[in-house]
Amino acid sequence: MSQAPTPQGDAAARRLPEQLAEVVEEFAELEDRQKLELLLEFSRELPELPARYLNSYDQMEEVVECQSPLFLTLEYDDAAGTAAIFFAAPPEAPTTRGFAAILHEGLSGLRFEEILAVPEDLSERLGLSKAITPLRLRGMTAMLGRIKRNIRVHLAASAPVQGG
């Protein structure tokens, strides 16, 4: 996977998976204050955890890089080669919930290789760094990193070893 070509600049933007590109465009069109409003809307739309995870955060992974508690977990459909992503964050952490909701909307259900190819600078592409200090955006980068790592671990553990 690390050998995959790394597209640059506009080429990379074009290569974002469609559902993620739509989210990025939504943010890109807005003024800073409106961006915050949109992030708030996302935070409200973060789906509830499926019942099987409720009250069992210990089955999930805590993203310690986030200032507020955030838990995530992935479910894999190996036949389809896709991953569903689930997040949990408390209502007192709307910014963290907003980041999680962006990743949910943009990534959940995509194919493994599509998720792994998402550029690391995703949070910068949303243009939020003026309204939200860059360091707060770090939590989102950490979430993305952990999602990718989970997929890599899953692939290494489940896929038969192949050449090349």
Binding site: L36, L39, S68, P91, A93, P94, T95, I132, L135, R138
Partner: protein, 296 residues
Amino acid sequence: MTEEKDFSQYAHPDALVSTDWVAQHKDDPSVVLLESNEDVLLYETGHIPGAQKIDWHTDLNDPVTRDFLGPQQFAAFASAKGITPDTTVVFYGDKSNWWAAYALWVFTLFGHRDLRLMDGGRQKWAAEGRELVTEVQTPASVSYPTPAQRDDSTFRAFREDVLAHFGKPMIDVRSPLEYSGERTHMEGYEQEGALRGGHIPSAASVPWAKAANEDGTFRSRAELEAIYTEQAGLGQAEEVIAYCRIGERSSHTWFVLQHLLGYDNVRNYDGSWTEWGNAVRLPIATGEEPGEVPGA
């Protein structure tokens, strides 16, 4: 609900108000509530009726100089929030009033007289089931006269002041791992690192949150005295400097030392570790011990 705490135990009882007090006085024309949170969207999800939002990142800092607002910008900001020099400004926020204390400290630099923290902050208000609304009220139309100055000497310290202060007590309010130098940043704030890990030589380590109870309220005066006066060795010091990483966590400790314990001359070194840890020719100490006063 727990029994109301008696604020008269503290050195400056007027610097604190209870959630009950706020519930009773929030609509007084002389009172303005300012919510200051770490989470920049939290105010929008619901706040105390009538409270205005203050965003430490976009409202209090000069976007060009690494500094706070100047007097004119402050006057414009205060006016926009419906504040006059006679207003009782009550700050509250998330995370044990961490950012609320920071905003209060910045207001202090401009000499605003009546500044208070709501003990327990947003967490206590919400835990008591009190009303939170999303409606934003339009502040009263007022004009705050430009303060004569921003007082950068009484409650604020620069690096030169820290050098001159050596030999007197200093408090490092960061986490133990930042203090010892094993980490150059706070957990979760990896981009705010410094080139060197450690602390200012001779500074005692008292992580800021030690001053707060689980419910976000301040500890009792007796508990605070045990922590700061005794364990950290402040004793009856006349001058104390507190610092952290960029000066926000240490604002919380500044409030404790200045207003709750009544130390006369407490300054917040807001340059803090991001400046000191990166600065040329400034000495540091590593490990769990405070280390010696340089040149002593």
